[in-house]
Symmetry: C2
Subunit: 438 residues, 2 copies
Amino acid sequence: MRQCSLLLHAQKILTQDAQRRILEDASLAINDGKIVDIGPRRQLECNWQATRTSDLGNVLILPGLINAHTHAAMTLLRGYADDLPLLQWLEQKIFPREAQLTAELVELFSLLGFAEMLASGTTACLDMYIFEKAVFAAARRAGIRLTAGEGVFGFSSACCACWQDALQYTEELVASTAQESRLKVIVSPHSVYTTDPQILTASLHLAEKLNLPLHLHLSESPQEVAQCQKAHGQSPIAYLSRLGLFSRPTKLAHVVVCSDTDLDILSQAKDTTILHCPGSNMKLASGCARIPLMHQRGLSLALGTDGPASNNQLNMFLEMNRAALLHKLTANDPETMPASTVLDMATLGGARALGHNDLGSLEIGNWADLTALDLSAPNLVPCYEPASHLVYAASGHEVVLTMVEGEILYDHGTFTRFDYESLCREVTKVIASIRKMA
Amino acid sequence: MRQCSLLLHAQKILTQDAQRRILEDASLAINDGKIVDIGPRRQLECNWQATRTSDLGNVLILPGLINAHTHAAMTLLRGYADDLPLLQWLEQKIFPREAQLTAELVELFSLLGFAEMLASGTTACLDMYIFEKAVFAAARRAGIRLTAGEGVFGFSSACCACWQDALQYTEELVASTAQESRLKVIVSPHSVYTTDPQILTASLHLAEKLNLPLHLHLSESPQEVAQCQKAHGQSPIAYLSRLGLFSRPTKLAHVVVCSDTDLDILSQAKDTTILHCPGSNMKLASGCARIPLMHQRGLSLALGTDGPASNNQLNMFLEMNRAALLHKLTANDPETMPASTVLDMATLGGARALGHNDLGSLEIGNWADLTALDLSAPNLVPCYEPASHLVYAASGHEVVLTMVEGEILYDHGTFTRFDYESLCREVTKVIASIRKMA
């Protein structure tokens, strides 16, 4: 018999492997954070001697969901202002608050965001904000997998006085996370409308120098496109292409507005992933991205919640549901975006967005990043088709266990790495003091 | 001091009263199933001597949500077939299964549906299906408030051989529920496309005779409207109006397709409520109802999940979220359908749909139908604006307590009236035997 650290048993395992196999009465053997075997329970019990064995019972194990675009620390501003036009929301409500941010606040509220993610089955995310060192610190406390970058703007942020500082800060992020398998850095010029050609080119050069991908908000609204046309004579996508950004792997959040010409540019780009955020696009009335067409054209697609101030959740089950429902309605076709396609976006697509070919499916050699749903939750009984349940019936509260690199981070309501109650007490204290100042 | 049976304390109470007051550190006094006082905790503690006192701590109490259009027993078919065109879904998947239904199956799977509702804060629903006596039996077992009617069709159902039988069955429902304050009957001709003028007229006459409202599916898809135009030379709404149905209180599910002329007819009707089902309309690609315009025109609006085979959830928090997001996107306006409007639909609007003027808000004299959400759930921390949280941040899993007429039916994961585990075992047995037959 071979040795492993953990043997997990479950009623069902949804693998997301090439055959999209769903195993019944099955097991996973985990060692050094990686999956070393997966298959029928009886077989694994014969072949593996485990330091620890856990029978999760009537659960469905699936690859941990990957939130491919978020701003976790914005839990601070969740529900602070809603039902407003984008500009009024940003300029009168969000920006003034963000100007007062500190590294301490960003760490605290990122940790709160990561708590929500872990409790709803998300094991990894792609984050862009300010004070990203503090976001990495929060990720270390939660144990979540994080790819993140400091937002680079054409104006000062509470963290960086200028864009050069933000790029310098990005280099420091790389140095400070180099030894950690769960943490990765991405160069993050915020968007076309908050930067200029010089900043975007400098970001590109830094990405080339450090061999990193790029992460931007792109073509989120008709207003943004009109403004870019006016300023640069091109669509945001054509403009980025001209500046050469698509020579690097680029992760493009939103891409709500996308002409046929834009689509051709994206199709020809070497390594581009569209980070679709249906909840945010709906709530801010930005529009509906042409995701089904992008899928047909073979573009790489992932799914994100965006920040909790414009969603207002960090829950990938709900985001999958929105993606499926929104595009059926918009396409006037109930066969559009079936459950399997949406689930692929939230798992394998997310793994591609993070540049991880060892995530997104439960296969030998991959990291043991996974979550388990209680199949006896009233909304999951009976279960004919697990993929359908994940997209249409689940809401994330069925999660009983979430694990990254074989380490259990959330277990039946309890976070293993940090004390959630004391986190809440700290949040309450901070909010009270902010209110006092206001 | 006055006597009451229960004194409930909570951090916040969202009243949905005329001023939409939200009380902090507040209490509810309940006696004989009704609210006898509501106000500051200190005041109620001075004024009331309670048989039982419960301090729920850091929760938000709100009126129980009302699911104004559903087919609870369709939990049997949840996830059985998805991502299909409506007709193929109905004719090849749903109808053949429904032809094999029995009263026992309907009771079992309705109870499962009610479990999901209670666990996600829903205290009442408006149901239409077949074997409704069994649905009422399930409601008695769960304790949920139910208004329901036997579906009347122009063809035989597994329960009734003909429409005359279904109307007779409806009369029997009235007799068998007359003494129960939680149960009400509604005459339920299924739709225009499954009936004819004779059936609709007979349904109207029965409603007049028994002094009951009517519940129909109406104008759900462009195909339905085209078919009605062809068969009757009118839109479904104009056709119902001509037949006189709007002389009674009518509860109209969907109303996705609605011309300006139709809207005028609905506006002039005496007592009509539109039962909006955004999740089902999106999933089946039926279209987007003109809810913001109906709201402007002062129509009475409620919210429903539809059946769990076309949603696939019976969760009113998610339905509120969909209603808010869908209409913002469709109207291209983030100010459309603010949280407060949507919350009104799910509470006060639902109460009107059920013909209950003693539900939908927490006020003296109303039934104590309510639910409580744990405000320490990661997705509800911090809490600036409770109504925003209910529509944009909650997903229903934060519910810790649900009560109907002062009786606790769901308490921190446990159903008080029935054994959920044995229900699940029975469901598993039934599904296995159905699979064996198939």
